[in-house]
């Protein structure tokens, strides 16, 4: 007997292929390399204030490759340093205006944890990639290419990548 095929549809999610177009890439201004030219055991790229309210995505990080895109192979030759990932909330499903607005500094005596959409810190361990760059040039640019993996129709796929700052930190 043929097995009955059950097809179920989630009314909420959309596939990555449903995104209206590629997500915008970020290219940093030039960062001085002098601080990296002392010996280090580990080097991190730290992204602060990363928004995770929308779609879920992989953020591919390339060094000194301002033209990197979703089609750029993730190879050492292309300056690929690694990826970080954002597990997004998928947009706002609250009933009323303000549900997804991050509360400000907690008031005194407020026992509640901060808002779930408090922007995140992501740390990419990029020791070898930064070591290669430090040995070659004087400047560093960071290109971040978001690849949307999942979302809902409530998500702004094009502008999925939002963060406040990048830091390059080395450890002896």
């Amino acid at each position: 007997m043929a097995q009955k095929k059950i097809t179920r549809k989630s009314p909420v999610t959309s596939k990555e292929g449903d995104a209206p177009g590629p997500a915008k890439t970020y290219v940093s201004s030039k960062m001085p390399l002098e601080p990296l030219q002392k010996p280090f055991q580990r080097a991190d790229l730290i992204f602060d204030g990363v928004d995770h309210s929308g779609a879920t995505f992989e953020a591919r990080v390339f060094l000194n490759n301002e033209s990197a895109s979703a089609k750029t192979p993730t190879t050492v030759q292309n300056g690929y340093a690694g990826s970080f990932h954002i597990f997004g909330h998928g947009g706002c499903f609250g009933d009323d205006v303000g549900h997804c607005e991050v509360r400000g500094v907690p008031r005194q005596y407020d026992p509640r944890p901060a808002h779930p959409l408090t922007p995140a810190r992501k740390v990419l361990i990029a020791t070898e990639a930064l070591r290669r760059i430090a040995s070659r040039g004087k400047h560093l640019t960071v290109t971040v290419v978001p690849i949307v993996l999942a979302g809902t129709p409530k998500c702004d796929y094009e502008n999925v990548l939002k963060f406040d700052k990048i830091s390059v930190v080395t450890y002896v």
């Binding site: 989630s10 009314p11 909420v12 999610t13 995505f57």
Partner: protein, 262 residues
């Protein structure tokens, strides 16, 4: 059970045992039919929609001006409560972990037992879970859009995390692997709001919890910032201190277990 502890096993291991997943499947089937606080929608709804109690990334609050990250202890408590709720429906049920680093996972992706739509002529409660109405969307069932199996995280990458001796550093890195797998499965698992309605969510987080356990074996069970210890893990009646030792919580991770009478 080993010494009265619940033994959590791998999905792959249980797939090789006749009826290995029957108790879990039975428990999930019953939970998915319940509409009260014993049911699937209630417990999955704690994570994202509608309660949004889940903890991801560092946050300030509860009187602290410095951020702290309760991702690992919060999900450990969540899984514990959920597992007991499942065992109320079938006492033999235990959460299995989905080892997405295994050669098998890198070949087939989602385990067969979690993807086959029917088992013995009935809907497979491991393949999909009910979802509530989320206006303007009606109620429905979870779906997945998995990517290529070979792009799942590797054993080598997870192994490299074991050498990170600082808990905060380890949390950030293991959370990134966690995020990657949610994105890899895609569909309902792909967003915080609805991921817990998918049955594979629980086994994915079981793997994350197991990785933390293995890290604790190497780096110390109590290796966590002291100011985390008394943080409550709302809505569960547990603090961070309470969930550090999984044996004290009544479970263990084992690849296999053999017992003989003396």
């Amino acid at each position: 059970m080993a010494n009265g502890l619940t033994v959590r096993s791998s999905i792959e291991g249980l797939e090789h045992i006749a009826g290995g997943l029957d108790a879990l499947r039975d428990a999930y089937t019953k939970m998915q039919k319940l509409s009260d606080n014993r049911g699937w929608l209630y417990w999955a709804g704690i994570h994202g929609f509608p309660q949004y109690m889940c903890w991801h990334h560092g946050r300030v609050g509860m009187g602290d001006q410095l951020p702290y990250d309760l991702f690992l202890p919060w999900h450990r408590a969540y899984l514990l409560y959920f597992e007991h709720t499942a065992r109320d429906q079938n006492n033999a049920a235990a959460l299995p972990w989905w080892d997405w680093t295994s050669p098998g996972a890198h070949s087939v992706g989602i385990p067969h037992s979690y993807s086959v739509p029917q088992v013995s002529g009935k809907s497979n409660s491991l393949a999909s879970g009910p979802m509530p109405a989320m206006p303007p969307n009606p109620a429905g069932h979870t779906v997945r859009h998995p990517r290529r199996p070979a792009t799942l995280p590797t054993a080598a990458h997870v192994h490299s995390l074991m050498a990170l001796g600082n808990f905060v550093d380890f949390t950030i890195q293991v959370q990134d692997v966690h995020d990657a797998v949610h994105g890899w499965v895609g569909g309902s698992m792909g967003v915080v709001a609805i991921s817990a309605f998918d049955p594979i969510f629980w086994s994915h987080h079981c793997m994350i919890d197991r990785i933390w356990y293995l890290w604790q074996l190497r780096n110390g069970v109590n290796n966590i910032p002291a100011d985390y210890l008394d943080k409550p893990l709302a809505p569960f009646a547990l603090t961070v201190r309470d969930v550090l030792d999984i044996n004290r919580l009544g479970y263990e991770y084992a690849q296999s277990s053999v017992t003989i009478n003396a």
